[in-house]
C-alpha cells in the first residue's frame, strides 16, 4: 500500500469542497482559550543534538548487555536471535494494525494464527487468543472470564501469595467495583493445599503461578480436579521458557493458562512493550476476551484467515462482553512467533535446560558460602531464593559498585516475612565466569 502527501492544491480543493477557508477554521468548536495554547517547552533540537542528549541519558543506566545480570522477577534477560529483530523491522509487520480487512491482511492474520497455534502447543491448551498487553493483564482477563463463565453468580477468587505481586495488584485494579472477593494471598505462607481448602461453591477461579514468583515449581497434580469438584475453574500462570522443559498446565487440567511472553525474544526495554499470553479450552472460547484469528475458506475454496468469533467483543456485545479489550500486542506476538520458529521445540528445550543447569549450579555454589542459605524446599527452574547475611540493598550495592554485577530482586519489597531475602535469576545468558564472579562477590560479605 502506498501513501501520498497532500499538496497545497489538494488542501485548497478539499477546503473549498466543505466550505471552509482554512484548516484552523475546522477547530472553531474548540474554545479559543485552549484552541492553540502557547506551549512552554524548550526550543527544538536537531537530530544530531537529540541523539547526543539521549545517548548521554542512556549511558547513566546499567544494563544487561554490559553488566552480568542476575535480576529476574517477571522480566528476564534471554537470548534473542538477530533474525527476530531484523524481521519485525519490516514495514509490513512494524506498523500493521488490527487486520479488520482480511482481503489485505493475510500476512498479519496468518502470523497471528501461527502464534496462537504455537501458544496452544506450548501450554497444552485448545485455543489461544492473539495476546494481551502483558502477563499481569492476561491474569486480570482470566479473572473476568471466570466470573463471566460463572454467570456472575460466583464472587470469590482464590489466589496464591506466590503469584507475582504486581500481577495480583493489577488483578485488584481491574476488578475493583465488581463486588469480587480476592482471597488466599493475605498470608504469604499459604501454600497450595491451604488454598485448595478455601475452594467452595462461591469460588469462580483458583489462580496459581508455576514456576511461582520465587522460581519454585508448584505441584499441580490433582488441583484442577479439586477446583472442578466445587464448580470453579483453574488458571495457571506459566513462564513460557519453562514450558520447554516442564509438563504444560494443559496436561494438568488447567482451564486457562496465562503468562508473560517477554522471554520469547523480546528485549527487556526498561519494562515494555511485553506480551500477554492467554489460552483456554474450546468449551470456554466464547467467554474468552481478546482478538482471535481463525482459519476459513474464501468463496473459491482457498484457505484464508480472519478475525473470528467477533460477537464476543464489546463492539457487538457492549456491556455484556466479557471485557473491553479490543487489541493485541501484534508486533510482540510476531517477535515471539519468530523466536519460537527459529528455536523450534528442541532449541527451546535446550534454552530451558541451560537455565535449569546454570541456576542450579549457582545455587549450589552460593549454598556453600557461610552466611547464605538457599531455599531448596521446592524444586526450582531458573530463579531461587537466597537468605543473605545482610540486607539485599547492601548486597546489591556491593555487587554493583565493586563488581559491576546487577544483583537479584529484594523480596522484602513485597513480603514482610522475607527480610534479607534475594530472588536470584540465572539464564542461558549468564556465563560460568559471571556465576563464579557473583559467588566471589557475595563471599566478600559473610557477616553484618
Amino acid at each position: 500500500m502506498s501513501y501520498y502527501l497532500h499538496t497545497e492544491t489538494d488542501r485548497t480543493e478539499m477546503l473549498a469542497a466543505i466550505g471552509a477557508k482554512s484548516i484552523e477554521d475546522l477547530f472553531a468548536d474548540v474554545p479559543a482559550r485552549v484552541r492553540f495554547p502557547k506551549l512552554d517547552v524548550p526550543d527544538p533540537l536537531s537530530e544530531l543534538e537529540t541523539m547526543r542528549e539521549l545517548l548521554d541519558l542512556s549511558e547513566s543506566n546499567a544494563e544487561a548487555q554490559h553488566s552480568p545480570m542476575f535480576l529476574g522477577a517477571g522480566a528476564y534477560y534471554h537470548f534473542s536471535p538477530s533474525l527476530v529483530h531484523q524481521l519485525i523491522l519490516r514495514g509490513e509487520f512494524l506498523t500493521a494494525y488490527t487486520p479488520y480487512q482480511p482481503e489485505i491482511s493475510q500476512g498479519t492474520l496468518q502470523a497471528v494464527y501461527e502464534y496462537q497455534s504455537m501458544i496452544c502447543a506450548l501450554t497444552g491448551m485448545e485455543a489461544a487468543n492473539a495476546s494481551h498487553y502483558d502477563g499481569a493483564t492476561s491474569m486480570a482477563e482470566a479473572v473476568i472470564m471466570a466470573y463471566s463463565h460463572g454467570r456472575e453468580k460466583r464472587k470469590k477468587i482464590v489466589l496464591s501469595p506466590a503469584i507475582h505481586p504486581q500481577y495480583r495488584e493489577v488483578v485488584r485494579t481491574y476488578t475493583q467495583g465488581m463486588g469480587l472477593s480476592l482471597v488466599g494471598d493475605e498470608d504469604p505462607e499459604n501454600d497450595l493445599p491451604d488454598l485448595v481448602k478455601r475452594l467452595d461453591q462461591d469460588t469462580a477461579l483458583l489462580i496459581v503461578q508455576s514456576p511461582n514468583f520465587f522460581g519454585q515449581i508448584e505441584n499441580l497434580e490433582g488441583v484442577a480436579e479439586q477446583a472442578h469438584a466445587v464448580g470453579a475453574l483453574l488458571c495457571v500462570a506459566a513462564d513460557p521458557i519453562s514450558l520447554g522443559l516442564l509438563k504444560p498446565p494443559g496436561l494438568f487440567g488447567a482451564d486457562i493458562v496465562v503468562g508473560e511472553g517477554q522471554s520469547l525474544g523480546i528485549p527487556l526495554s526498561y519494562g515494555g512493550p511485553y506480551l500477554g499470553l492467554f489460552a483456554t479450552r474450546k468449551e470456554y472460547v466464547r467467554k474468552m476476551a481478546g482478538r482471535l484469528v481463525g482459519e476459513a475458506h474464501d468463496k473459491n475454496g482457498q484457505r484464508g484467515f480472519v478475525l473470528t468469533l467477533a460477537t464476543r467483543e464489546q463492539h457487538i456485545k457492549r456491556e455484556k462482553a466479557t471485557s473491553n479489550i479490543c487489541t493485541n500486542q501484534g508486533l510482540m506476538a510476531m517477535a515471539a512467533t519468530l523466536y519460537l520458529s527459529t528455536l523450534g521445540k528442541h532449541g527451546l528445550r535446550k534454552v530451558a535446560e541451560l537455565c535449569w543447569h546454570k541456576s542450579h549450579y549457582a545455587a549450589q555454589r552460593i549454598a556453600e558460602l557461610p552466611g547464605y542459605e538457599v531455599d531448596t524446599s521446592k524444586p526450582f527452574f531458573k530463579e531461587f531464593v537466597v537468605r543473605c547475611p545482610v540486607s539485599v540493598a547492601e548486597i546489591n550495592a556491593h555487587l554493583f559498585n565493586e563488581w559491576d554485577i546487577i544483583g537479584g530482586y529484594d523480596l522484602s519489597n513485597d513480603y514482610a516475612n522475607l527480610p534479607n531475602h534475594m530472588l536470584l535469576c540465572v539464564t542461558e545468558m549468564n556465563t560460568r565466569e559471571e556465576i563464579e564472579a557473583l559467588v566471589e562477590a557475595l563471599g566478600e560479605i559473610t557477616t553484618g
Partner: protein, 131 residues
C-alpha cells in the same frame, strides 16, 4: 413468513406456547426474528433451575456479526433447555417454531402473558416494521 395461529407473540419477537395445564410454557424466536438475524451460529441458554422475572433476558442468539438478547415475557423457573442448539444452532433458522424451541419454564403468573399479541396482531406488527 410464518405466523402459527396457536402461539402468542412478544414485541421483542419471541413466541410462547402455553401448555394445556397452563402452568408451563415453551418459548423460541419467531420466523421474522430468525430471518432478520440471518445465519445463527450460537445460542446462549440459561441453566435448568434458573429463575427469572418478567422481562428479564435469559440468553442470547448470535449470528456472525450480531448478538441479540432473548427475553422471558413472564416470570418463572426454567425446567428444560434445548440442548440440541449447542451443536446445531442453525435449526433456529430452519424450524423456529418446532425444533428451534429454546426453553421451557414454569409460569409464576399466567396473567403476565396477557399483553402478548395473537398471530394476526403480530403479523400486522411485523408488516409495520418492514416499511
Amino acid at each position: 413468513m410464518n405466523f402459527p395461529a396457536d402461539l402468542k407473540y412478544t414485541k421483542s419477537d419471541e413466541w410462547v406456547r402455553v401448555d394445556a395445564n397452563a402452568d408451563t410454557a415453551t418459548l423460541g424466536i419467531s420466523d421474522y426474528a430468525q430471518n432478520a438475524l440471518s445465519d445463527i451460529v450460537y445460542v446462549e441458554l440459561p441453566s435448568v433451575g434458573d429463575a427469572f422475572q418478567k422481562g428479564d433476558s435469559f440468553g442470547s442468539v448470535e449470528s456472525v456479526k450480531a448478538a441479540s438478547d432473548v427475553y422471558l415475557p413472564a416470570g418463572g423457573t426454567i425446567t428444560a433447555i434445548n440442548e440440541a442448539l449447542s451443536s446445531t444452532p442453525e435449526v433456529v433458522n430452519s424450524d423456529p417454531y418446532g425444533q428451534g424451541w429454546m426453553v421451557k419454564w414454569t409460569l409464576s403468573k399466567l396473567s403476565d402473558l396477557d399483553g402478548l399479541m395473537d398471530a394476526a396482531a403480530y403479523q400486522k406488527y411485523c408488516d409495520e416494521r418492514k416499511q
